[in-house]
Symmetry: C2
């Protein structure tokens, strides 16, 4: 649409140190994939690894693989691969179950840790809804009350009854980045525990779980971490909370002696305590393999590119798209922006269908949001320019 912006895109791509990472992924020529914040693209090397897992580890070694192929220790081992991406120390992240199940573990454990007289759970009202549903159940089963508030209202609502607070780091719909350091400090000042949902931030920006003393965190691995469809989620438990982590789901995998088959439950140490039942090994090892694309990639570089991409996309939208036809619901300030741009737009569902036909894949979130996710490992500036141009062509 504009030679100036197209040239700018080319220059930005030429200077992008992460650009070579695109070749690590299976992508289609001619398609701009801006839905990696829903399902990350396939790293090229994963199919061969999974063929080996299935044909040799399962097919030939069978039961021996639990030890010989390291299946048994995969949840902690892969947790340690994710830990540096979210600023967590080794031994504090364990992989397994879904985000929803991990929200339940974390919230129940947080309430149990909060102590007497604290019977309120505050929940980010704009959260991905599963967090709210599960929090409601956690509250019901621990004799707590739930209060759903916008993130901006949470700090003022903290008080002596607050047991735990569940907040999304980046809002799935608007792309707003909440203030993890500030809110966590305020939650602690009120004597409560902070549970952060990292689904839309891990792999897109620095999280700093340990640096900011976050108590618990959960997240999925199939968005910016590219683990594959429904790949298992993870649970972070702060190191100094682990010995008191009192899980509502004490499955045998978390026992201190799982093969002792002892009738009484005695929890294991460390991250292991967050395990429950036998892990989905195929999904888990696909995730482990997918994490190889992060080797040598500092998350700070990803963040810098992410902000440059979303800035540039917004610049192109501003330049190309007829005034008034879309408006950004993603905050303009870098400190409040995740790695997506959400545009409200009349007829957004239809518009997204048409965009996808034109080879620009984002997604639609009710009622009126066009959501474009920018995954810095495989999306470039020319992609951002083309997405804006196709959107303008549709709305022009």
């Amino acid at each position: 649409m504009s030679e100036v912006l197209a040239k700018k895109a080319a220059a930005l791509d030429a200077a992008d140190e992460l650009a070579p990472h695109r070749d690590l992924f299976t992508l289609d020529e001619g398609v701009v994939y801006l839905d990696g914040n829903s399902l990350g693209a396939l790293p090229r090397h994963v199919p061969a690894r999974m063929q080996d897992v299935i044909a040799r580890e399962w097919g030939q070694l069978r039961i021996r693989s639990w030890e010989e192929s390291g299946w048994w220790t995969a949840p902690e081992r892969i947790g340690d691969r994710i830990a540096p991406l979210v600023g967590a120390g080794p031994g504090t992240v364990v992989v397994g179950d879904s985000t929803s199940v991990n929200v339940f573990k974390a919230l129940v454990a947080a309430v149990r840790m909060a102590g007497e007289g604290r019977d309120e759970i505050l929940v980010d009202a704009s959260t991905f809804p599963t967090d709210g549903y599960v929090a409601e159940s956690a509250a019901r089963m621990t004799d707590c009350q739930i209060r759903a508030l916008s993130p901006a209202e949470i700090v003022a609502a903290l008080g002596p009854r607050t047991a735990a607070v569940l907040v999304n780091h980046v809002d799935y719909r608007s792309g707003r980045l909440n203030d993890l350091p500030g809110m966590t400090a305020a939650i602690h000042a009120a004597g409560a525990l902070a549970v952060w949902d990292l689904c839309h931030s891990a792999g897109a920006l620095p999280v700093g779980l340990a640096a900011h003393d976050v108590d618990f965190a959960v997240g999925c691995t199939y968005k910016y971490l590219n683990g594959g469809p429904g790949s298992p989620a993870y649970l972070y438990v702060r190191a100094d909370h682990q010995a008191r982590f009192d899980t509502p789901l004490p499955g045998w995998n978390s026992h201190e002696d799982p093969f002792g088959m002892r009738p009484a439950y005695v929890p294991g140490d460390g991250a292991t305590r967050g395990r429950v039942g036998t892990p989905d090994i195929l999904s888990m090892l696909a995730l482990e393999s997918a994490l190889d694309v992060w080797d040598g990639v500092p998350v700070e570089a990803v963040r810098a590119k992410s902000l440059a991409l979303t800035d540039f996309f917004l610049e192109c939208v501003e330049a190309y798209v007829p005034a008034g036809s879309v408006s950004s619901v993603t905050p303009a300030a870098h400190a409040e922006r995740g790695s997506q741009v959400s545009l409200s737009c009349a007829g957004a569902g239809e518009v997204m269908r048409a965009l996808i036909e034109r080879g620009v894949v984002g997604d639609f979130r009710r009622p009126d949001v066009l959501r474009f996710g920018f995954t810095p490992l495989y999306v470039g500036f020319a992609d951002a320019e083309r997405a804006a141009a196709e959107l303008a062509a549709l709305l022009g």
Copy 2:
């Protein structure tokens, strides 16, 4: 060891209608795999299917696969594949999460359904331990008491305070088959609900969930169902209980309108209500593919062969193994026997290691049990004879 028994094995194999099914699996020449009750062998066609799932459905279709490849509906669709194997009607089984997590869902829902004044959960004390640990947590979170009893004691212990009873259909250690029809009837007569764990029976013998009015059931899929390491478990909820099924894990996948992203939880209908978060698609689709080996196989034929195999193995052990060196802890009566033979044996851990070196793969369960699982789809009578002969050679 004995020409007579070797000839008998050959005759039994020749007459075995299920024998051709062995070719559907990847097995090693020279190895007798009697650990399919821990991890089922790999069906030969699964690697090619999974290559397609990974390279095309994830790699090329990406996010579109949730609809176009049927990922979203997989939990219910695969549940309907498992249903006939356990005697359940369509729409009553849903696949997802681990057995431990499903025990939690089923027990909490059962207690909530049991009504006022019922505050006791009875648990099979010989159960696989995770069931007991999770039952303890379910009891704690629903203000119930737990009583751990041997299956033989359970019926006499039922009373007006009993809310729910959790029993293993086949005991993982001894291989004892518990009386599902009789115990379920007694539990109902006492006004309580029955939760059966089918891990060691599904795919090995007829279960008859609907015929016997079982309230809830759970089971894993990586043993006799050959779904792959840690493949997702399933939950059965009796059709007439579904509308009252009040889950402790109300994740967004179970919502009546999951993509509405509505702040209030409204459960969906039917088996869907047992879903929680985003399912592990790779593990789930490997399971779906693996279930193809059951096409046209009546579970009654599997049961007949299973009993013939375990009878014949016991006959060979009796004939070959020095008197007094092993004794069977698996009941002799067919009505009380699952699809495994457990032999107590001094130094069982060492003996099993040596047996595995000789190409007979069973497993060891503390303190002194040699466990041999007979999976009728791919184990034959000559395998049983050889296993007994190798054991005799070691103990002779």
